[in-house]
């Protein structure tokens, strides 16, 4: 299996632990990948303040066109925002030939053309449908010993198209956690928004969103929360001290990426492969005591 | 016929395990002298049925008593031909499934059921179908030549029968002639009315006789034997028909009553009907000055869903307004349509047309009109916008269209008055009294039936002819007469076509059934009919007045003149007659009386009370069976006797029961009133009324009136059965045993 891995702008910075832990996981599972040549940003969720809709579509279509011209492999986007931006462009271009013509006439300015031939996949989709939980389970050498994990799904990994999982009751994240030997704690707010891209400018409102999510996970017994989106990881983790100060809570919940847990379960080094030391709220103790 | 009787007891389904079947067979043989009495472990199976058939063939058995499951099941299995009498005794659902096995009381219950069954079989005669002297017609009269009438006539002809169509206007088509376009399946776009083709199809059809500019003057006779007098164009004609479809349609609600919405005050406020006529005639313009129309506002529910006007929804007005909005857009794509609504009622697939109207850019405002006014030659409407949360003003309107509702043609403008019967309250100085909506004298003239109970179909609510809408929506309270289209309920064209087709089919069914002497409904296939022993008639008129279907006419001396083909075989007349002169071959006053007398009543000191429950066969008996299927346990002291309708309960049965020492009588039947369930419309209500007279008699005899009780039981009330029985048993325990026991 070969894919284009499109990690996007945040996985080199604030989401570095995601990228670092993703690579050894893919290696263990035999996933081959390649970078999209000279890829550009996807525009994420806040570009509408600066650009009209067509410009944002063209921005994403450039990546798709380059991928199509260089092998056409499925694009795997670990970041949910990047994933949904590209999937959306794909859908709309495929359904509306007028729009496709407009996009291509803009792409032509850079000598590119997109014919709608590339598929965009989420990391969870590839792990669950292409690789399968059975293979993942096979590769586990250090089962996570019933570690209680809140599998936070967020918004943009499944909504709105629900291509690989249900939009109202998703299961892929939980099944993978279970394959690793962890216990996926059911908590209803796992589908709730964390505030996404407008967290920084709208901190006061978004604090409440995060508080609800963390409280819900803890009430249902989660020891830590796993996520598949750098935006969610940052919003849930980094602002906890500020939330505690503003709302009088005492959160200290480690937020890890699913791939970090996978790297640990596959027997990888906690630092080198799972990048656990990148996490600001340290998860090592909880994870190590679960490993036994 | 000379009866040769046999009794077969099935021991399957737990019956053999719970009862002493041998003792039952003894009773049949010894007490009722029945020559052949057998038991079988699986009577409804092919072998069991073979046993019976063998006896029929070899022993000449013609009266078969089957003591097994409920008569509501396996009636097809135990069908041995129209020339055999089959009596079913319920030992399963109502005995072994509701009582503990092997107990003495269970055995006594089973024995009494068998005794009653044997007694009933003894009193049953084979019905002979009613064959009138006149020949039965299978032609169908259709009154009204609108979409419903035309469709009914056409479908009748397509099915191979003849139709007579009478239309009062000079051209066929009804309201369809006023319409520009239709909105119908698949609700994506406007469709053509199809009027021309439809009228041509009817006029060209050799099996349809069309009278235009004509009305029905009067109809005499009965289903299969109707004689119709048609007047028109200065001529008079008589047709003989078998059944009638009334499709006389609707009129729009009188908008003159809607002056608060501006009608009559401003010329540019019109009704949806006037709007349609304008569109059909050519261009839609402002009525006041003939100028072009740019901004239109539709007021939905104008005088509908309003207790001061029409309390009900006419179901089509939302779609009609959307249709007319499309006309406006067709005329001028720049025009703006506002639709001011309470709810958008575009049901089912019609939602697609709502979506189209939205896509066209029509503006939907949810709210109610506060004020309609004029300013600078244009109209404005002020309304409370519910979704915006404030009062708004929509100005610069060229046209305001009031979406008014439908009123059935049967609804009279004024409530008619008839000479008051003796002793009636509320008569005026001239001795006239207002009729109630369910009277045959209420509706406006359409049929002119020569029925003692009135010339038109009885209505229930809002002037619509009534039928038992849950079970029999196409029917009316007159056998052989069916309503179709908007006269029975406001409906859109797609449904009208369905409705008319159904009514035509029912009408044909009626003529076919009547021609072989069968009842039409709900006792479909019943060959019996009430026979009157006129020698003892005292002309009290109870039967003619109380028949729910107007089946009995009267002569000048008040003698009843029965019309068997109008009859639904409910037996209400039988229950009403104080002289007990009415009977059916297989259902009579003495028959039930003998069944009651067949019950063994223990002595007072045995402390085993006995209750007789007269159970209506439609809902209450079914509810009992369902309680049995669910193994709900009840008191073993109740003896259930199915009757056709509680209306057929003759008060002499209560006297019989009490004089034999029965401690209590329970009447279980359908709900009555505005929301009635009674399958014969008035039966259970009449039973209840008659019971009030019984309580007076009981009190005089120093018997507690609590001993006789009426209970409403619907088919879905089976869970309540144990409680109902328990409560009644408690009452009987309180009043104590019947002092007439052992006399």
């Amino acid at each position: 299996m070969k894919y284009f891995l499109y990690w996007g702008c945040s996985l080199e910075g604030s989401g570095a632990n995601f990228l670092v832990s993703l690579k050894p996981v893919f290696e263990t599972l035999g996933v081959e990948w390649e970078e999209i040549k000279d890829w550009n940003c996807c525009g994420a969720s806040v570009s509408y303040a600066g650009a009209n809709d067509l410009a944002i579509k063209v921005l994403n279509a450039r990546n798709l066109a380059i991928a199509e011209a260089n092998g056409g492999y499925d694009i795997v986007a670990p970041c949910s925002s990047c994933y949904i931006q590209m999937v959306k462009v794909n859908h709309e271009i495929q359904e509306d030939p007028e729009l496709a013509a407009k996009v291509n006439s803009a792409l032509a300015e850079g000598g590119l053309k997109y014919n709608g031939g590339v598929r965009v996949r989420h990391v969870l989709d590839v792990l669950y449908h292409d690789i399968g939980v059975d293979k993942i389970r096979e590769k586990v050498v250090k089962p996570l010993g019933g570690l209680k994990v809140g599998g936070y799904v967020g918004c943009q990994s499944v909504r709105p198209y629900g291509e690989y999982d249900s939009v109202e009751r998703p299961i892929t994240h939980d099944r993978i956690l279970e394959a690793l030997g962890a216990e996926a704690v059911p908590f209803p707010k796992k589908m709730r928004c964390c505030g996404s891209g407008i967290f920084l400018p709208e901190m006061e409102y978004c604090f409440h969103l995060v508080k609800d999510i963390l409280e819900d996970a803890l009430t249902h017994g989660a020891q830590l929360i796993s996520t598949v989106c750098p935006m969610c990881a940052m919003n849930l983790e980094v602002y906890q001290p500020r939330i505690n100060k503003a709302l009088g809570t005492d959160f200290d919940v480690p937020i890890v990426y699913l791939t970090q847990l996978m790297a640990v379960a596959f027997g990888g080094d906690l630092k080198h492969d799972a990048a656990l030391h990148y996490n600001i709220i340290p998860p090592e103790k909880i994870i190590q005591s679960a490993l036994g | 016929m000379e009866k040769k009787t046999a009794v077969y007891i099935c021991t399957g389904c737990g019956i053999g395990d719970a009862l002493d079947v041998g003792k039952l067979l003894e009773i049949a043989t010894d007490d009722y002298s029945i020559p052949i009495c057998k038991e079988h472990p699986f009577l409804c199976g092919p072998e069991g049925v073979e046993v019976i058939k063998k006896d029929i063939q070899e022993e000449g058995i013609n009266t078969i008593i089957i003591a097994a499951c409920s008569p509501r099941v396996n009636y097809d299995v135990f069908n041995f031909g129209a020339d055999k009498i089959v009596e079913r005794v319920n030992l399963r659902e109502q005995v072994v499934w509701m009582q503990p096995p092997g107990e003495e009381d269970t055995q006594m219950l089973a024995e009494d059921n068998l005794r009653m069954g044997c007694s009933k079989a003894n009193d049953t005669e084979l019905p002979e179908p009613f064959k009138p002297e006149e020949e039965i017609s299978k032609d169908i009269l259709v009154v009204g030549g609108g979409l419903a009438g035309l469709t009914a006539a056409l479908e009748t002809a397509k099915a191979g029968y003849k139709a007579v169509l009478v239309e009062k206007e000079d051209r066929l088509g009804g309201f369809l002639t006023k319409m520009k376009k239709l909105v119908t399946m698949p609700y994506k776009e406007l469709s053509d009315t199809g009027l021309e083709d439809l009228v041509k199809a009817v006029e060209d059809n050799p099996n349809i006789k069309v009278y235009t500019s004509s009305t029905v003057e009067k109809i005499s006779g009965a289903p299969g034997l109707f004689s119709v007098e048609i007047k028109g164009n200065g001529n008079s004609a008589t047709e003989k028909v078998g059944a009638i479809v009334q499709a006389t349609g609707w009129v729009p609600y009188d908008a003159n009553k809607l002056d608060h919405l501006g009608y009559g005050k401003f010329k540019d406020v019109v009704t949806n009907v006037e709007m349609e006529e304008m569109a059909a005639a050519g261009k839609i313009t402002r009525p006041s000055d003939g100028k072009d129309v740019k901004n239109v506002l539709f007021v939905q529910c104008a005088g509908s869903r309003d207790p001061e006007h029409l309390p009900y929804c006419s179901s089509v007005c939302c779609l009609v307004s959307l249709k007319q909005a499309a006309y406006i857009k067709e005329q001028n794509p720049e025009a703006v349509n506002y639709i001011l609504y309470k709810d958008m009622r575009t049901l089912g697939q019609a939602e697609d047309f709502y979506k189209k109207a939205q896509l066209d850019g029509n503006v939907f405002v949810r709210g109610s009109v506060a004020n309609v006014g004029e300013e600078g030659g244009k109209l404005f409407v002020e309304a409370d916008d519910e979704l915006l949360g404030e009062r708004i003003r929509i100005e610069d309107l060229d046209l305001v269209v009031l979406a008014v509702g439908m009123v059935p043609s049967t609804q009279p403008d004024e409530i008619p008055r008839i000479p008051a019967p003796e002793g009636a309250e509320g008569a005026d100085e001239e001795g006239m009294i207002e009729v109630t909506p369910d009277s045959g004298f209420y509706a406006t003239k359409a049929l002119g039936l020569e029925y003692r109970q009135g010339p038109e179909l009885p209505t229930l609510k809002y002037g619509f002819p009534d039928s038992h809408f849950i079970c029999f929506p196409y029917e009316t309270r007159r056998t052989g007469i069916y309503t179709a289209g908007c006269v029975r309920r406001p409906m859109e064209t797609a449904k009208v076509i369905d409705d008319a087709t159904g009514a035509a089919m029912k009408a044909i069914q009626c003529t076919e059934a009547t021609s072989v002497g069968m009842a039409v409904h709900p006792r479909s296939g019943d060959m019996s009919y009430p026979e009157f022993n006129m020698q003892r008639c005292t002309q009290c008129k109870r039967c003619t007045e109380e028949c729910p279907f107007g089946a009995i006419n009267e002569d000048e001396k008040a003698n009843p003149l029965p019309n068997p083909t109008r009859c639904r075989r409910c037996g209400v007349c039988m229950g009403a007659c104080p002289e007990r002169i009415i009977s059916f071959k297989n259902y009579s006053v003495p028959m039930i009386g003998n069944m009651i007398k067949a019950i063994e009543v223990p002595e007072e000191d045995e402390e085993k009370p006995r209750i007789v429950a007269l159970v209506c066969e439609n809902d209450a008996y079914a509810a009992l069976d369902m309680a049995g299927i669910r193994r709900m346990q009840i008191s073993p002291y109740v003896r259930f006797i199915p009757v056709r309708c509680l209306g057929s309960v003759n008060l002499v049965w209560i006297a019989d029961a009490l004089s034999r020492g029965i401690d209590g009588i329970l009447l279980m039947g359908c709900r009555y009133g505005d929301d009635y369930q009674c399958h014969f419309i008035k039966g259970s209500e009449l039973a209840n009324t008659r019971l009030t007279k019984v309580s007076e008699t009981l009190d005089r005899l120093a018997l507690e009136s609590d001993r006789v009780k009426f209970v409403e039981v619907g088919i879905t009330d089976y869970e309540k059965i144990p409680k109902i029985i328990e409560e009644f048993m408690e009452t009987i325990e309180e009043v104590g045993p019947n002092p007439y026991k052992g006399w």
């Binding site: 702008c9 910075g13 604030s14 989401g15 632990n17 000279d38 890829w39 550009n40 940003c41 969720s45 806040v46 570009s47 509408y48 303040a49 600066g50 650009a51 009209n52 809709d53 067509l54 410009a55 063209v58 921005l59 450039r62 407009k102 803009a106 300015e109 850079g110 000598g111 590119l112 918004c155 909504r159 709105p160 928004c193 891209g197 407008i198 920084l200 400018p201 709208e202 409102y205 978004c206 602002y239 990048a275 030391h277 990148y278 600001i280 | 703006v336 709502y354 939205q358 896509l359 850019g361 503006v363 939907f364 949810r366 916008d385 979704l387 915006l388 404030e390 009062r391 708004i392 003003r393």
Partner: protein, 194 residues
């Protein structure tokens, strides 16, 4: 009393990205009920749509609702008419900003700086973006903002979650800019990047 004015609705249909979708709204309110921030909005998404239809131009373009959308897609998934509510809200925000309205100035500035970075480099430089956002209101305010958030920045840096070196423009940046300019021109209602 408000006068119903259909001209703003027409303006929205013609000039706002996905604006014509609101024709299909039947005002069921599921979007408002699903939206995580609807309680903080002055008008819920449903209300915004009926206000557009009624012609309340100033209220809509000044509302904070159009800027508070987190793009969670809950509304789009549940709308019985299939309206992409989030895209309409984004379109309205873009239109409002172009027309000179500044609801929720900080959020608008953040989004604009985000896009400017993309236009400049083809990718986002997280620390540079934060810096530009903090200093959008001038130097003094910028220092104040930076000091307030300094602890977070330092923590991220110490945990290797911040790229040290500045981001360089992608190789095809000139072509990208040409493409984006063309797209801006062709955009709905004469588009135009800001």
């Amino acid at each position: 009393m408000a006068s119903y004015d259909p001209s703003f609705a027409r303006e929205v249909f013609e000039n706002v990205d996905y604006g014509e979708e609101i024709k299909m709204c039947m005002q069921c309110g599921v979007c408002a009920a699903s939206c995580p921030l609807s309680m903080r909005m002055d008008y819920s998404p449903r209300k915004i749509f009926v206000m557009i239809r009624a012609g309340k131009r100033e209220e809509v373009l000044n509302s904070n609702a159009i800027m508070l959308c987190t793009s969670c897609y809950s509304c789009k998934v549940r709308c019985p008419r299939g309206i992409p509510v989030i895209d309409v809200m984004h379109g309205l925000a873009n239109y409002a900003i172009r027309q000179g309205y500044t609801p929720r100035k900080k959020t608008a500035v953040f989004g604009q700086e985000f896009w400017k970075q993309i236009y400049r480099l083809g990718r986002i430089d997280e620390k540079d973006l934060s810096r530009r956002y903090f200093f959008a209101d001038g130097f003094t305010q910028g220092i104040r903002n930076s000091l307030e958030m300094a602890d977070m920045g330092i923590t991220m840096f110490l945990h290797k979650r911040m790229k040290l070196l500045p981001e360089r423009p992608i190789k095809g940046i000139k072509d990208l800019r040409k493409m984006l300019d063309k797209a801006a021109q062709m955009g709905k209602g004469g588009g135009g990047a800001i």
